[in-house]
Symmetry: D2
Amino acid sequence: MSILSTENLAALEQQGIELPSWAFGNSGTRFKVFGTPGTPRDPWEKIADAAQVNAYTALAPTVALHIPWDLVDSFDDLRKHAEDHGVTLGTINSNTFQDDDYKFGALTHEDAAIRQKAIDHHLACIDVMDATGSRDLKIWLAEGSNYPGQADLRGRQDRLQESLQKIYDRLGDDQRLVLEYKFFEPAFYHTDVPDWGTSYAQVSALGDKAMVCLDTGHHAPGTNIEFIVMQLLRLGKLGSFDFNSRFYADDDLIVGAADPFQLFRILFEVIRGGGLNNPDVAFMLDQCHNVEDKIPGQIRSVLNVQEMTARALLVDRDALTAAQKSGDVLAANAVFMDAFYTDVRPALAEWRESRGLAGDPMAAYAASGYQQKIATDRVGGVQAGWGA
Amino acid sequence: MSILSTENLAALEQQGIELPSWAFGNSGTRFKVFGTPGTPRDPWEKIADAAQVNAYTALAPTVALHIPWDLVDSFDDLRKHAEDHGVTLGTINSNTFQDDDYKFGALTHEDAAIRQKAIDHHLACIDVMDATGSRDLKIWLAEGSNYPGQADLRGRQDRLQESLQKIYDRLGDDQRLVLEYKFFEPAFYHTDVPDWGTSYAQVSALGDKAMVCLDTGHHAPGTNIEFIVMQLLRLGKLGSFDFNSRFYADDDLIVGAADPFQLFRILFEVIRGGGLNNPDVAFMLDQCHNVEDKIPGQIRSVLNVQEMTARALLVDRDALTAAQKSGDVLAANAVFMDAFYTDVRPALAEWRESRGLAGDPMAAYAASGYQQKIATDRVGGVQAGWGA
Amino acid sequence: MSILSTENLAALEQQGIELPSWAFGNSGTRFKVFGTPGTPRDPWEKIADAAQVNAYTALAPTVALHIPWDLVDSFDDLRKHAEDHGVTLGTINSNTFQDDDYKFGALTHEDAAIRQKAIDHHLACIDVMDATGSRDLKIWLAEGSNYPGQADLRGRQDRLQESLQKIYDRLGDDQRLVLEYKFFEPAFYHTDVPDWGTSYAQVSALGDKAMVCLDTGHHAPGTNIEFIVMQLLRLGKLGSFDFNSRFYADDDLIVGAADPFQLFRILFEVIRGGGLNNPDVAFMLDQCHNVEDKIPGQIRSVLNVQEMTARALLVDRDALTAAQKSGDVLAANAVFMDAFYTDVRPALAEWRESRGLAGDPMAAYAASGYQQKIATDRVGGVQAGWGA
Amino acid sequence: MSILSTENLAALEQQGIELPSWAFGNSGTRFKVFGTPGTPRDPWEKIADAAQVNAYTALAPTVALHIPWDLVDSFDDLRKHAEDHGVTLGTINSNTFQDDDYKFGALTHEDAAIRQKAIDHHLACIDVMDATGSRDLKIWLAEGSNYPGQADLRGRQDRLQESLQKIYDRLGDDQRLVLEYKFFEPAFYHTDVPDWGTSYAQVSALGDKAMVCLDTGHHAPGTNIEFIVMQLLRLGKLGSFDFNSRFYADDDLIVGAADPFQLFRILFEVIRGGGLNNPDVAFMLDQCHNVEDKIPGQIRSVLNVQEMTARALLVDRDALTAAQKSGDVLAANAVFMDAFYTDVRPALAEWRESRGLAGDPMAAYAASGYQQKIATDRVGGVQAGWGA
């Protein structure tokens, strides 16, 4: 008998984690981007690779796109391409940080013409959403300043509100805007949406279709992220996760790689707050595979989320509540840790096999020959990266 | 002619910074509290000492009290005592972190009886406010947990809201509740109000008389505090400052001592956002003089705030705006830095002398003999500290 | 058959973790120390409590003392008392941070008389070591300054070297001096031994009997502690560990409670570098049980070290090396994580039972009635804490 | 009469700060590199630009090169080119982070052939040094790993020592090796030389011609950098500074821009420890002008170092020592702060004018038309950046 109850298995059955198309392209640091053989040259190949992740895990049914990196002539064709590969197109991510006009801001820029250009880009993204059937427009605002005095913090915040309102007003009834916050980078003195409080204040002013996106790597050192998860769920404003992990800054490592216990705590608060398998709360990855292979890197990532969700589901909530109410610190902590330390991997392998999947997706993918095939086939052209 | 314009001098003239009564008592770390000769034994002596700060600077007309540390039989008498010394009683600070009942929480406690006890304490504080004529009830919530699983984060947040509502409902028309947030300490895993976003969400749910208190030492490493100042002013929810400074954690050092340029940036945003000499935004100190003398430590502190306010007032706002609008990073930064690097101390000394004060308050206090007098006079009794 | 090999079980069999006597007394924060029923009133009772930890785990055969907190009339008697309880006396910890003379330093003080007083205290500690048979004198230097300019950093460093040399020269042939470093606290601007580099430079200048003590909670945010473990082992200067865990500052939480994966990585480097069961590398706890029960808190702590050592021993070193050599990032990480995620608890329980111990030491201790007995018996007197 | 004494002016007269050639090329973040009109296309143009900084400040007589970014056919010609422009060639910086072979390390690589390639690169750099007359070979080791288990930390450290020894052995009698440490980036789990302690241990094992390079942006949050300056000077191992400033990570902002008071404290310890105008301690910049103009960015930087050196020279050392010895915390801090708050800019302008330079180098450069000229002239070709 599995250590995972029927109820827990049912919850895991529903779990879906969106993959970022850009995770399949090359990424790196300001010092160097290392390429890997077989890296996709275009969105079509990225989606084919993403579909591999889903094929081995049944955990990744959707793929997020980044505009303009994933611009194609026909999004209708791309949508069919995705469906042919067993996945669908998900969140649309905008980009207002790579055009020379945006050196000093986009939605916050002093110049109304540049703000309008940035707004128009987002409206074009909504056009893409209409074509792809995507629900969410995700805005990561890479805006800020590097030197004290360089920018008028207050004026930018007001302009941000105005710009967002214009984008928000264009959303369809079933579409949403999710606003990501980030502590720093690419700006090094101030960031226009640096923390969850700012994102919350901004989206609250917009309306019900605007939500906060929490990227697990975008916080100050020491921040209790699960507390923010709890709070945003409580306030009804947690729209989506960008999962990854970090030791220092926005390292964009594989989720769960740096601090597995933190991931456990986050997923526990998701469950505690009703955020698991809640359509309002999207699970997405946002990672960079700078030195490791990309497809197995994504497989590892979704498995990490699944395994840690399983552990969090194992917490004996009644026992936990009893210990908490009695002020028995060690007993409460023990209930919590017992779930974390339980090895759920055999039960998940068994369950995968019961669904016709390989028990070990990493091994199955490695044995499939797909990686060798793309390395051989994808010769010529330009490997996709953050510039294309 | 002064480098400070008439307009700027008028702004400085209005400036008032509230002193914390507890700064005059002993404080320390968990390892040791070092005493100093002359330390007050009771609230009456604390107020006498606080009045010295005002006498030499004309910057510190009010004194905040901490209940129960400053409980007296007659607050009416204490009020008169303060007035006799040229100051008035200010913010009332509650304390729900030193009673054994509060080991696992107060306003957030699992046990309704303990929550009620903590609520009742705050109602008693409002009674004190009625007696002292104080406007603000400041709540620093020293609640949280040390171990993952120990506490139900979500339940505590909901209970906090309920408890605060009961306190809020008791406020008089001209009274306010200011809710302080703190990153960590005394709890080491989670704090119930860890960030400005949480305080903002909580006070917004209460109503117009509830505001956020920003303690400059209560943030994660690297936090851009002036951004939060800007945001809270923009949202109309910056109720008060607790000024101090820090290198590492909540070090409670003299304001401006650790990073004077940060203090400058904060005060610039205060001015930019209309928070200077705005009755809605109270300036207070919250510091510990663990190793330095207390009265001159407070004099130094209010002078630091004044000097940095003067520098921030010197920023050529028109030139700054022009440089910002033109994207001239170095020019904008230069305008900003020019004000910071300008030595305002001679102009402030001159201005003090024009008002009949000593040009150098630190020297004047040292020469006054007050320190020697209290060291001689205050023999016997128990020096005030955080326990009394 | 156990998942732990005979070789690994033999390694675990040898493991010993020293307990700090002060963990059984009350501790807290600068805001409040909460007491618990049954807290020891003197060193005799502390040792009796420490012996309970060893009785249920066979992991904690020695107890560290703190002078003057654990001063007794006859250390010979205390030694026998310990032996009667099945434990021995271990490291002697000095204290030069609670005497009023040490407000501005001890071994680094400007005043030669105060430096001599501090040196003499350490010589007296060595006298205690002679009486107790302790090998190690541990020096945590709680010295530093709060304000820039307050102290002459360089002069203090030179004086520190001189003072340490005088202490070092008094050591017996089989005695050692271990010098602990700490990032900050109780000083808030500078600490005289803030990092491993400073401790290493100081002890290298002394000689072979001087080593570095690594407290896991004494680093800057984000520090890769296992790297330091590796480096100090490589340099032959890792003398001892003070184990605990932290989310923010020197939180002194139960080891493994905040980041179990970090503890795993540390223990892996200990094993990799030959530090496990190496007499040169002492394992000690240094924790504060501010809100949890003390004896079970210590039991939980030594079990955490044992469990994580077992996981670290499970790493398939050959497979790891092969993956590392081939540049297969995901495979190498998988080998590493597989060991971390393996649940060693059943195997350890089984092994304990094979040695005549209870499989679940926490439950066995709770069922023993000892906690209730001391709560009932230890009435009157003053509970031990950091002041006594 | 100047507030700067004759002695202080003489000290300032000697000051020289080396400029990095790469500061004149484009730089950015992993997200985007913004170009600027007039950016140099080759080392010849970089040196011409660097010479402008020296022409207006007389503070920047040498230019550091980066190999291979600054490879030219004839370093003899480049040397003459520099001299024609009034500057000389300085430190040679190696680069083992941009070749595909170095994805998993260079001097630390598992593969001896790749290590040898990296060693050979450094030997080739020493050949360049022989041609340019440069004294220092600066090694920034961009090596590390992203995931726990990926790399054998200990093995890498040992291989690093071996590789460095081979490079060291090739140094001429008057040449030095300076080893830079860095907390993180481009690697996100471990860095092979993450802290000063590691650099110190490595260079101490090499010999007298190996020294530590301290980059002010390469530390953990909260690190007391001036303490490290003091310690390395005390140990005789501070070989050079890479000056820049940061709010978060290795932001590479203009030195003094983020925390001017920190720069003051660093320079005070330089002076205190005999490091000013000491040929053993090289002052260099290492900055990125991502959003500001490059030549005036460098002018601003060397002026910041000069201004802060002047302030640090103003500290009344006798008064400071007296206050420190008497334990008068506030007096000692006041002496320190008085120097920091003194406005040295008019005195420095006057002094520049006395030497035939413009009082305001920023304004003089702006008025010179050089920036417009290079923007017009440098059309076509590829702007220099980190890739070329």
